[in-house]
């Protein structure tokens, strides 16, 4: 790093320019990551926080894909799952997006219907036919607190408690009893007893999911895989992840391009050092070290700014999630991809001929 450090100090302008580009790309990726995670949480947190490892949907017909909005399961299907070996718990869960009103305030909410005493809902023992549990955002949006009344899809209900901050498909969750949910959001089929949207399952390794699916007429996937059945999540998350991927690729290309030009510019110096006895390995190490210093410096600053901005907007209306995963993972990826781009660029050091340092033989 003897020459590399001095190059960094000597060519301040060039490296500052490149460093600024890295800072801006890192900032952009950091903000996008926080926003992606924040939007994702608003889409799926009610599902990912369920104490269940699998979700059983109504088996889709034809080429239809699994969908929370299209699925309806019957009591008979639920019973079959409850009695299946290797299933510790099978609980019906009704999901419907509807409207809640309190005074002059109204908001879109997701009504989650559960059985009395279900483990799926927070404070479920306080949920009754006329009392429900609201998530924090639902309570805030409606301006209500425990003991207040509000209207859910035209039915007058009481707030039993305000717990958690579960969201589904960008709407805050209101936990109701399954029969209340059926009345506020009637299912499409009632021939086969009380219905729900899906069945939340806790299974062991003994569970024969395929066989039970066949018997019950359901299609069961893991809780994580079931997220793709939330239409808004799939399209939104896919677009944002694509943007993030492109930014990663752009950062590697930009860094690679910079170090390609830089290596070409200093190929004369490299030839001199080789002629004087510098090994190619030493020169590569020096150049890669220089790239990593620039990358780490730029990424740290960019990540710091992204984290600061994230801290400022967290808690506001912007759905930004500030966690080590949303801040540090993009930074590490940028450093690794940038180092890869730089490594591919500086490999041309190996082909510099020291003979070119002897002017008259050039």
């Amino acid at each position: 790093m003897f020459v590399a450090w001095r190059d960094l100090k000597f060519a301040k302008g060039r490296f500052a320019l490149m460093g600024a580009v890295i800072v801006l790309i890192t900032l952009l990726v950091g903000l996008l990551s926080g926003l992606t995670a924040g939007l994702g949480r608003q889409n799926v947190s009610a599902i990912t926080s369920l104490p269940a490892d699998k979700i059983a949907f109504q088996a889709p017909s034809g080429r239809q894909e699994l969908s929370y909005s299209n699925s309806t399961v019957t009591e008979q299907q639920w019973r079959k799952w409850s009695e299946a070996p290797g299933v510790e718990s099978a609980e019906p869960l009704g999901i419907t997006t509807t409207k809640a009103t309190a005074g002059d305030k109204s908001t879109g909410v997701s009504a989650f219907g559960v059985e009395p005493g279900s483990r799926l809902a927070p404070d479920s023992d306080r949920i009754t036919g006329s009392a429900v549990v609201l998530s924090t955002t639902a309570a805030d949006d409606l301006g209500v607190k425990a003991g207040d009344s509000f209207t859910l899809a035209g039915r007058q209900l009481k707030v039993a408690a305000v717990r958690g901050d579960a969201h589904f498909s960008h709407t805050p969750v209101i936990w109701t009893r399954l029969d209340t949910w059926q009345k506020t959001a009637p299912p499409t089929s009632t021939d086969d007893g009380p219905t729900a949207t899906v069945i939340a399952l806790s299974t062991t390794s003994q569970a024969d999911v395929a066989a039970t699916d066949h018997q019950a007429g359901t299609k069961t996937v893991s809780t994580d895989d079931s997220l793709s059945a939330i239409g808004s999540y799939t399209s939104e998350n896919g677009s944002l992840q694509l943007m993030r991927g492109f930014l990663f690729a752009i950062s590697a290309l930009v860094i690679g391009a910079f170090f390609t030009v830089w290596t070409i510019q200093r190929s004369g110096d490299v030839a001199v050092l080789k002629a004087l006895g510098a090994s190619t390995a030493n020169l590569l190490k020096d150049a890669l070290g220089q790239a990593v210093v620039l990358l780490v410096g730029g990424t740290l600053i960019g990540t710091g700014i992204a984290a600061s901005v994230g801290a400022l907007v967290s808690g506001s209306a912007v759905p930004f999630l500030l966690t080590p995963a949303t801040v540090l993972i993009p930074a590490v990826v940028i450093i690794l991809l940038g180092a890869l781009g730089a490594a591919l660029s500086i490999r041309r050091i190996t082909s510099v001929d020291p003979l070119t340092a002897l002017g008259s033989v050039r």
Partner: protein, 227 residues
């Protein structure tokens, strides 16, 4: 002998044929002596220097540096040999723009894995020897052409080489500065006890050399002792 070239033949591809740059050249340069290789442009002087610097492998013949034959050495071993045994003074100073005069020398020690403190002391000794101790902190663009050439010479001596190869050191200097630089090379050759080969097309300053070898069309005229 510190530098011994024996029966060196070097050819380059030239269309469908090969051009002979060096033809059965042999040269012995004892330690502490200065040999000037003179000849017109294109005669093979620089090719001779490149072969001696182990930067080109000849078609036939052997190069021996400080008793070590270079034939069969790997690229890495040749690099190490250059680092330890050979000092090169380039035609253009070829100084690294980001380094100060002292650092141009210290980088050599750094390549050799020597301690920074020792390297700094040695660099200052050599800069003092070439009359630039007071310019140690200056970068190449802050030095004159003659000063840059003197840093170039000091750098070549940093790792105490046994062979010093000097390529047209006065080509970019006026008469007075050229004479000063050649005087410096002569003095340092004797002080540092190097086997020095000086390639030049300028015969005006060669009064102090120990041996003059003339290259013509790739052939070396048998050197006659100058003094």
């Amino acid at each position: 002998m510190s530098l011994n070239l024996t029966d060196i033949t070097l050819t380059y591809p030239d269309g469908d044929t090969r051009l002979t740059a060096l033809d059965q050249v042999s040269l012995e340069v004892p330690q502490g002596s200065l040999t000037a290789v003179v000849g017109p442009s294109g005669s093979g002087k620089s090719s001779l220097l490149a072969v001696a610097a182990t930067l080109i492998t000849p078609d036939t013949g052997t190069v021996t540096i400080d008793g070590q034959r270079t034939t069969g050495l790997t690229r890495g071993e040749l690099t190490e040999l250059r680092r330890h045994k050979i000092g090169i003074v380039f035609q253009q100073p070829n100084l690294l723009p980001s380094l100060t005069a002292a650092e141009q020398l210290q980088v050599m020690a750094q390549l050799d894995g020597r301690k920074p403190g020792t390297a700094r002391t040695r660099a200052m000794e050599l800069l003092d020897a070439v009359g630039l101790a007071d310019q140690a902190g200056r970068r190449p663009h802050q030095l004159s052409g003659g000063q840059r050439q003197r840093v170039n010479i000091a750098r070549a001596l940093m790792n105490d080489p046994t062979v010093l190869l000097v390529d047209e050191p006065t080509s970019a200097l006026d008469h007075e500065r050229g004479a000063a630089v050649l005087g410096l090379i002569t003095r340092l050759t004797h002080q540092q006890a190097t086997a020095t080969v000086l390639v030049t097309h300028d015969r005006t300053h060669l009064t102090a050399v120990d041996q003059i070898a003339e290259v013509q069309d790739g052939r070396l005229r048998l050197p006659a002792m100058n003094r």
